[in-house]
């Protein structure tokens, strides 16, 4: 079982550049139903057997695509997200890195108003092992299983998932939510979905220094999330950002250090791993506690 993506996902790939075309093939071979690609001027062609269209609207009309993944270069990526959403995608996954933050603020708000879900930008995407991959993760390290994974990072997620898989803990769905200041869904949005997913028995939450998403998630878990959650936060030895102005500090109201996050998580009853190795132990304990 899984959330957001699975057997019913009909994916269109926006942007057949170097990365887009490479990963279109990878996703296809992983088993994802990649039904369309969108690249202006190439309508009528096929790529790796996938029909190509000039616009998302045409792609959705002709193929019934309901999900989109964005590989369009940063200056055009915000527009591409809107195009996918307005054409009819229920979920847009923006892999692209480097989109201006005010563009994303506008896009995220517009998608919220439309009821379209967004993962990313600047993210590795999502994978429901054995069922469907929408993004750029190396599929081989994932296995189906009961653990939901939500992370702000890409390669760190792989690091953790590899250990989980090696220890016999497969994943229901693993998500890289993206590392930008403004992203679509966050921990608590995914947790709401994991709460309803019978295939997910435990959630691993991988956080990092900066922002207060982890604190918000901790509060949400304490209030309404009834499955075990295990956490890991990186950035203890990260260099402090040379901060400019006070607005950021005023707005968050709380500290965005690792210590502050760990404290909030602990207060909400979420165990926090000290090391990557310890994550596996906590997962084992969490799942063991269920039986």
């Amino acid at each position: 079982m899984s959330i957001l993506i699975g057997e019913n996902t009909r994916l269109m790939v926006q942007g057949l550049g170097r990365d887009g075309s490479f990963h279109a093939g990878r996703m296809l071979r992983y088993g994802t139903r990649v039904v369309a690609a969108v690249h202006p001027g190439r309508e009528g062609e096929t790529y790796d057997g996938i029909p190509v269209f000039n616009t998302c609207r045409k792609a959705v009309e002709k193929t019934g695509a309901n999900c989109s993944v964005i590989f369009v270069p940063a200056p055009f990526a915000a527009d591409a997200v809107l195009e996918g959403a307005h054409a009819g995608a229920d979920l847009v996954v923006a892999v692209t890195e480097g989109i201006p933050v005010l563009d994303m603020s506008r896009v995220v708000n517009e998608l919220d108003g439309m009821g379209v879900k967004l993962t990313g930008p600047n993210c590795p995407g999502l994978i429901s092992p054995g069922e469907c991959k929408v993004g750029i993760m190396p599929g081989g390290i994932f296995e189906p299983g009961p653990v939901g994974v939500i992370s702000r990072s890409g390669t760190l997620t792989y690091e953790i998932v590899k250990r989980l898989t090696a220890a016999g803990f497969g994943q229901s769905t693993a998500i890289g939510m993206g590392g930008d200041p403004v992203v679509g869904m966050k921990y608590r949005d995914y947790m709401e979905l994991f709460a309803e997913d019978p295939g997910t028995e435990l959630v691993v939450m991988v956080g990092e220094i900066g922002g207060t998403d982890e604190q918000d998630a901790a509060a949400f878990v304490a209030e309404t999330f009834h499955k075990p959650v295990v956490s890991y936060i990186v950035g203890r030895s990260a260099p402090p950002g040379k901060r400019m102005g006070h607005a950021g500090a005023i707005i968050s109201g709380v500290e965005s250090t690792v210590e502050a996050k760990v404290e909030a998580l602990s207060r909400s009853g979420i165990p926090v791993a000290e090391t990557i190795e310890e994550i596996v132990d906590l997962v084992a304990a969490g799942l063991g506690g269920l039986n």
Binding site: P75, S153, Y158, V234, M244
Partner: protein, 382 residues
Amino acid sequence: MKLEEFQAKKLFDEHGIPVPRGRMVTTVSGAEAAAEELGCPVVVKAQVKTGGRGKAGGVKLARTPREAGEAAGKILGMNIKGFVVERLLVDPALSVAGEYYLGITVDRKRKVPVMMVSASGGMDIEKVAAETPEKIFFHPVDPHKGLRFFEAKEMAFKVFQGKKNALDAASVMVKLWRCMNSLDATLVEINPLARLEDGMIIALDAKMVIDDNALFRHPDLESLRLPSPAELKELEARKHGLSYVRLDGEIGCMVNGAGLAMATMDVIKHLGGTPANFLDIGGSSNPEKVVHAMKLLVSDDNVKVIFVNVFGGITRCDDVANGLVKAVSTVDLKLPMVVRLTGTNEVEGIKILSEHGIKAFGDMTEAAREAILLAGKGGAGR
């Protein structure tokens, strides 16, 4: 891209926000001339891209051009939180009747720009936020509709007394938002926004951060980049697609992905070592990147060992291996190097390395232990 005060004030001015008519100078005589031209008293202000300048002695009042020169002499060359002062802003000293705070930044949580206004302006606004948060008013800005005058007016009447002050302040708010939006800033801040004794509302300080990702829309702003030596190195790294921040440790890290890079630093520290830097080579498979990254690491004299930690995803291990082989010969590497390589095309990558006598670890913790061990032997290889 952080701007210095004099740059931000110029951009504010272009958007109709009242600012003092100051002069940017780089020498003592320049400061004297500016004070002469503007008329004394003046304020001589260090131009550094960080806060806490006032407390560090980087802002001085001068009653005569000679005093302005003396102040400039003291401030130029000062090191404020790692920034060496090279430029000064000489502003006319104005008669201030009240100091307010006004700032807009993008709120990660609300996902929109949020404006903050307070009657408690001046130096300690973060203290105000922590101790008396009710003195700060917040207003989320709809990023499509922008900040409208009626919204600014509502905020202004909460903080400013009297029709003229409130409407003038509301006008500054709307212009500050327009400045932020039209230049793709992620932060604009005026602290203090002052009410002068003659009734004028004016920005006595100005902070502004431009979104690097949006500079393609504002090619003219690129010329405002005045990097400090440390920033210059980070900037050079950025040009090659690398994200680099120097620290003071011994283990030079090269990692793909910011999260894994932080985890690598954490594990080094957890095991008793000291990371020399944060270095994210990003998610593409270009061997040239690895060469540049290696050059960056060996240019730091503190570094005693190189630790490469790569988990292939988009990045392919064989590409990284090829890059490393090339890098080692290009920079004529004398330092010991520990490599951990796994993920996409792992087998091919490890084969390439072993052909060149480089051993690769599979587990990052083990690899980190080895790096710390080698660093302990300290520069033996040098």
